[in-house]
Structures are given as C-alpha cells and as structure tokens.
Amino acid sequence: MNARTRKRVLAVLQNVAILLFIATMLVPIVWIALAAFKQHVDVYQLKLVFTPTLDNFSRVFAAPYFLGDKLINSTIVATITVLIAIPIATGAAYAFSRFRLRGQTLLLVIILATQFVPAVVIVLPFFLMFRDLGLLDTRTGLVIVNLAIVMPFAVWMIKGFIDGIPIDTEEAALVDGSSRLQVIRNIVLPMAAPGLVTAGIFCFIIAWNEFLFALILTSKNAVTLPIGLALFKAEEGDLWNLMAAAGIIIMVPMFVLALIIRRHFVQGMTMGAVR
C-alpha cells in the first residue's frame, strides 16, 4: 500500500469512528424523542416505524400531571434568577476586571470555590431557614438557592468578557470628563452586551436543569420540570411515553439555548481556566 492510499484509508476510518461516536452520543436522546411520539403499546417494542401521536403531550399537560404548572414554575424561577444574577455579577466583574481591590484574589477564590460546594451541604440549612420563614415550596425560595449555584459562574464568565474589552476607549472618555458610571453605561455595557447575554443563557440552563434544591425545597406549588419527571413513576410501573414527552419539553428549549452560546460554552464551564 503506498502512502497516499494509506492516508485515504486512515481518513475514511477516522470518519467512520467519528460517526460511530456521535451516533452513540445521540442514541439516548433519539430514544426519548421516539418514545415521546409513540402510543402506549408501541413503547414496549423496539419499533422504529410506528404511527406517531401527539397524545402523550396532551396527556402530560392534563390532569393529574399538570406539567404546564411546572413549566411555568421553571420558566419564572430560571428567568428571575438570571435577572437578579446578571446585573449583580456584572458590577462585581467590572470592579474585579478594572480595579485593584483589597483581598481581591481571596474574594475571587472564594467565589470560585463556592461553585464546588456540594448542593446537599447548602440545602440543609436553607431547608430549616425556609421552614421558619414560610419559604418552603415557593418560587422565591428556589430563586434564592439558585443564586448560590449561578452567581460564581456569572461573575467569572462576565469578568472574562470584560477582561477582553480594550481599556483605551474607557480611559479616553474619562479624560474627556465622563464619570465612571457614564463610562460603564455608555461604553462598557454596550460592548459587553453579547457576553452578558451568553452568561445569562448559561445561567438559565443551569437554573432550569437544577434538581436537588427543587427536590427538597418544593412539594406541590413550586415544583419544577425536572422534579415533574418523577410524577410518571406510577405504581403500575413507569409511564415511559409520558416521561419521554416531559423529557422533550425539558430538553428541547435547552438544546436551542445551548446551540446559541456554543462558542462560549467551554470558557463558561471552566471559569476561564480553558479558553
């Protein structure tokens, strides 16, 4: 075999390996997607060809599951978490990026470290506190604990974006007599806007998929979508087709959001350790 043929064979083999790999990665997703459109009888067979139905989707939104309520809860909790987290994180990120603060490194390390505290440690005291304050099973309570997991990501991610904005324009405006707040509003915010949106989407996905807090702190009124999945574990066995339909409702919006921020995904998740 000469060198050129070898190279070509190698390229084909690589492509086959890549296809096999991505197929494996997509199987569970495709599996859920198929089950969501199957009738109850077809779920228990490995049919790839079947008469699709939207029945499962109408059933999950109807009594006794009322998945619509959970959808509303998830949307409100994730949205408000993001709306609180992003402005606060932006302020901090700007200060960390442009000024020297006393104890700056320590603060940044603490913010980084809180990301790694197990959720189960955080939830124990909050459970007691919420019980005393009447915040159990409320969306307000969920927003508060979600801030714990979202905030460190947001600060670090936005700091990364602001670090990347050249400082010259700001300095010129300051020399021309603009105040610092004007500079932030008129120069920094517009330039950082794509970064803020990316960080916002990122935090939205985290809050949307959050499981442990919602499992422990909600019971009826504030239940979110991931916990809603457990509704379909019935005594007579799991209702797979309904679970799959709920799964589609949980994951498809996140797929769309994830594809939008695809290019910043790695940087966000590693808090800037990898760019």
Partner: protein
C-alpha cells in the same frame, strides 16, 4: 463618585449573595453537625453533642463507609474513562473542517440535558424487558441479555458509570479540543517533517502541551463526580440495597428520609474536605494562567 468607593459598592452585592447563599450555609452546616438534630421533634436542634456524629459515621455506620467506597470507586472510574474517551474523540475532532465542527455542535446536546433526565433515559434503555440494551444483547451476547441490569448490585453500579461517562464525554471533549487548538501548529509540523510517527508526535509534542488543560479537566470532572446526585436519584435511587449510594445520596437519605439533620450535616461536611483540596488545585490552575 470616587472610584475608590465605587469599586467596593460594585463588588458588595455579589459578595453578599455569595456569602449568604454559600458561605453561610457552609458555616451553619458545620454548626448543625455538632448538635443532635432530629427534625421530627419540635425542640430542634437538640443537645450539643460535639464530634460524636463524626465518630458515629466513622465507627458505627457501615452504610457510611459503603457510600464512601461507592463514591471513591465511582469517581476514579468515571474520571479515568471520561478523560480517556474524551481525549480520543478530541484528537479525532480537533483537525476541524465542516464535518467535524458540525459534530462538535451536536456534542453540545447531551451536555444541555439535565443529569436527572439522563438518569431517566438510561433506566429506560436498560429496562430488562423492553430496553434497547436488552435487545442489543439478545442479538450479540445472549448471556448478557438475561441480566436484570438495575436489580443486580454489580451491574447497576456499571450502569450508573456508563450513564455518567456518557453525559460528561461531550463537555470534556469540547474542553480538550479547545486545549488542542492552543498547541502550536508549527511545532507539530516540524515534528512531522522530522519523520516522527503519529504516536511519537502525540507523546512528545501534543501531550506535554496539553497537560495543563488535561489537569483542569480531571480536577473538574473529579469534583462533579464526587457530588453526583441527580443521576443516581433518577436512575437507581441508590439501589439495589445501597450498591449505588453515593455520599450526596447518603446525606439526602439521612437528612430528609430519616430526619437526622445533625448527622446528615456532619457527613455533608466530610464531603466538603476533599472538595476543598480539589478546589485548591483548581484555583492554582486558574490563577496561573493569568
């Protein structure tokens, strides 16, 4: 307003939020771990018991040691497997081009899936009667088809491992692709011109350059593996028996099923310690790159 005041005003809200939602619960858990805390009784928390919850966990609770062993094995195995697979896929995908970057986009999808949902889908696929894997094994390896995956302690552990590795491969792959992109092209080409084999180029040029990123990935994955809860809860709920009970799940069970809040807080704090060690190394990598 003077910058000197402003900078602290800008940082204050974030520091306050992090303090209230992460630092305070840490301190409060530590305090609770020193008290007898039966949640079901009204006079909560009850008597100060000092370190006896910790002593209890170490000396009287085989279930605690079981969850330590499960978590340790789970962490080591998932970190190794995920890293190896991700490295292989990253090397395959790194050269770029339309096809490969399309595949990279698709890789985002499994990662945007919540671990709870991954748990559900794997429970579905490993169902012994009508699951996908059952059907596959009936065809390929009939002996394996009769295994009731989630009812057998050993098999259930491996199902959780497979589900977790599946869920994390995409993220690690994408990070490593990012790392590979920073290996200077000239160095690679120079090595190839010198006639080094593919394996030699990888071992002597790519791998050393990739080490910092690889270290970050391994630490990060270890942290996430140690915390694993959602996946286990939806896939096996710690069972059968407690064959797949991770530490997070053990804390959850003691705190919210048995209402032993003091004891649960103590075990939760024992989880914090390895986390702090890993975070220390992680922070060093983050700041070294600045």
């Amino acid at each position: 307003m003077r910058d000197r005041t402003l900078k602290y005003l800008l940082v204050a809200p974030a520091v306050l939020v992090v303090g209230a939602t992460a630092v305070w619960p840490l301190a409060e858990s530590l305090r609770l771990s020193l008290y007898a805390g039966r949640l079901s009784r009204p006079d909560f928390p009850q008597a100060f018991v000092g370190s006896s919850h910790y002593a209890w966990a170490f000396t009287e609770e085989p279930a605690f040691w079981n969850s330590v062993a499960v978590t340790a094995a789970f962490t080591v195995i998932t970190v190794v497997l995920t890293t190896l697979f991700a490295l292989a896929f990253a090397l395959l995908l790194a050269p770029g081009g339309k096809f490969r970057s399309g595949v990279q986009s698709l890789l985002i999808l499994p990662f945007a899936m919540s671990p709870a949902l991954i748990g559900v889908s794997f429970r579905f696929m490993f169902n012994p009667e009508f699951g996908l894997f059952d059907a596959m094994f009936t065809g390929i390896l009939p002996a394996a088809a009769s295994i009731n995956w989630l009812a057998d302690p050993g098999a259930a552990f491996w199902v959780v491992v497979v589900a977790d590795v599946w869920g994390w491969i995409p993220f690690l792959t994408l990070v490593l692709i990012g790392g590979l992109a920073s290996v200077p092209r000239e160095t690679l080409e120079a090595a190839q011109v010198d006639g080094a084999s593919g394996w030699r180029v990888f071992r002597d040029v790519t791998l050393p350059q990739l080490l910092p990123v690889l270290a970050v990935v391994i630490i990060l994955k270890a942290i996430f593996s140690l915390k694993t809860f959602d996946l286990v809860f939806m896939l096996t709920n710690g069972g059968p028996g407690n064959a797949t009970q991770t530490l997070s799940h053990y804390v959850y069970f003691n705190g919210f099923k048995y209402a032993e809040f003091g004891y649960a807080s103590a075990v939760a704090w024992l989880m914090v310690i390895p986390m702090m060690v890993l975070t220390y190394f992680y922070a060093r990598f983050v700041f070294d790159r600045k």
